[in-house]
């Protein structure tokens, strides 16, 4: 079956440019997560949705980062006025329920390079 997909896979942006990263979770999955993975690091939590509700955005590094999931399926992570420190791989994951034991399935990520 189809897994989590993300687009674009690669994005080069000039400093100050706005970018939008898309995540298509596995159909029917209730929970959706965004992570940021810097080079040589593990993924770090950004934000979490349960259906269309953004329940936790404590990991968003600044108010330049904004995420939405208006219809409870596809999600978009938007970064305004990109900075060089935003360069990273942005990973999206989804899970069927919100139980602690529920496995998160990851997409391939979007690699963002800000010049």
């Amino acid at each position: 079956g189809a897994g989590v997909s993300q687009s674009p896979r690669y994005k080069v942006a000039k400093r100050g440019q706005d970018v939008a990263l898309r995540c298509d979770p596995i159909s029917g999955h209730v929970s959706l997560f965004w992570y940021q993975q810097a080079l040589g690091q593990g993924p770090e939590f950004l934000t979490y949705f349960q259906n269309e509700a953004q329940l936790d955005k404590s990991g968003l590094p600044s108010d330049r980062f904004f995420a939405e999931r208006p219809e409870g399926s596809v999600s978009t992570l938007k970064i305004q006025r990109t900075q060089q420190e935003d360069s990273a791989v942005y990973l999206c994951a989804s899970s069927e329920e919100i139980l602690a034991s529920e496995t998160q399935y990851f997409g391939p990520g979007t690699r963002l390079l800000v010049l």
Partner: protein, 111 residues
């Protein structure tokens, strides 16, 4: 303040031998632990997990051991195969809070 630590950035093992990847954590409230495997240009793939009420979980060639008193878990792969070469991430969570990942260990299985 890293709550999940993987102190070995890399590990090389000969094919057929055992691979042991280690992970330490500082938050005693974590109650669920997971291992993910990541190939280049792909997202992490779930491998195996363990609840804090257990001390061992086995799935085929993969076994995870949890030592709560030492705040330590390990992933054993036996026998190791060349296809196991990847980056392995340890992750932990408390209840329904987000996953906290370590920095990963790159495993190379040499034929």
């Amino acid at each position: 303040d890293q709550q999940v630590k993987q102190n070995s950035p890399s590990l090389s093992v000969q094919e057929g031998r055992i691979s042991i990847l280690n992970c330490d954590y500082t938050n005693s409230m974590f109650d669920y632990f997971l291992w993910y495997k990541k190939y280049p240009a792909e997202g992490p793939t779930f491998l195996i997990s363990i609840s804090s009420i257990k001390d061992k979980n086995e799935d085929g060639r993969f076994t995870v051991f949890l030592n709560k008193s030492a705040k330590h878990l390990s992933l054993h792969i036996v026998p190791s195969q060349p296809g196991d070469s990847a980056v392995y991430f340890c992750a932990a969570k408390r209840g329904n809070t987000p996953l906290v990942f370590g920095k990963g260990t790159r495993l190379s299985v040499i034929a």
